[in-house]
Subunit: 136 residues, 2 copies
DNA sequence: TTGGACTTACGAAGGTCTTAGTATTTACTC
DNA sequence: GAGTAAATACTAAGACCTTCGTAAGTCCAA
């Protein structure tokens, strides 16, 4: 009997570069085996099967995904929704690089991110809705 | 004669955790010596002087700061303005975690970052200005 | 039930990051 | 010019990350 799923001392908060790459595919797929995820990566990525398996196993140890055995293979599923992780990441970035003021962040985005006029309009509409809700 | 400022193969784009911590102090100070930066850190940080010196020397190798010798000590200065680095970081985050659509990012920020009504109003004003400029 | 294809578990190499100790250099004073 | 306090340069340890090879386990078909 193999040992799987050992605990770890410190809670890991954020995905590493490669883990984010994998999680992105899992978010898109909903769930997937090592082979499924590997198939989603760009062809020029050229990652060995065992590397992908290792990455997913580590992600499970860090509680970023759960696995379920189907026949011979494990199927992995995100433990964290994409938008929740987006929020978490933005909060962290706001703290670390924007003095904890997310408004500065939005300002920076709106000012120099080369957003289309349509995108800007959408955001304004979003703000209008938000500000109306606050009134009630 | 010591060897300082050796080149490096690959261009480094982003600050590491500790480098960001140091760069934040340099941005606030404008410039500073090892001792200056160390003095700015939280007292409970307890970092050895030589560690701080090493970090700044590495940051110079990576072209994040320049140094100038004044008397016995080096004074370090950022090579990159804070807002430029903020923009760069946001662009990267948008690509990696938001499918390259910064509008989604703003939406996430506005929706769950707990911004005050005043902050939201300011952003809307900013957008209004941006959208008017585009018309002309 | 045994062979083969595929899967998982483990270990290790090579890299970067963070930290700090030791050794060397430097500027200034007497 | 020698001594001294402070700064810089170097080295290295320990942690984590990425990658992959090898070994061991597993399912199925003939």
């Amino acid at each position: 009997m193999a040992v799987r799923g050992m605990r770890q001392k410190k809670k890991v908060e954020f995905l590493t570069e490669v883990e984010l790459e994998f999680m992105t595919e899992l978010w898109a797929l909903g769930e997937g085996s090592v082979r499924d995820v590997l198939a989603q990566l760009a062809p020029e990525r050229n990652l060995a099967y065992t590397s992908a398996a290792t990455i997913l196993r580590i992600m499970e140890q860090k509680n970023f995904v759960t696995s379920e055995k189907r026949g011979k293979t494990f199927v992995y599923k995100p433990m964290l929704a994409k938008d929740a992780y987006q929020s978490k990441t933005l909060r962290n970035l706001s703290d670390k690089l924007f003095d904890g003021t997310p408004a500065t962040m939005v300002a920076r985005l709106v000012n120099d991110q080369g957003m289309s006029e349509q995108a800007l309009e959408e955001i304004r509409a979003l703000l209008d809705r938000r500000l109306k809700d606050n009134d009630s």
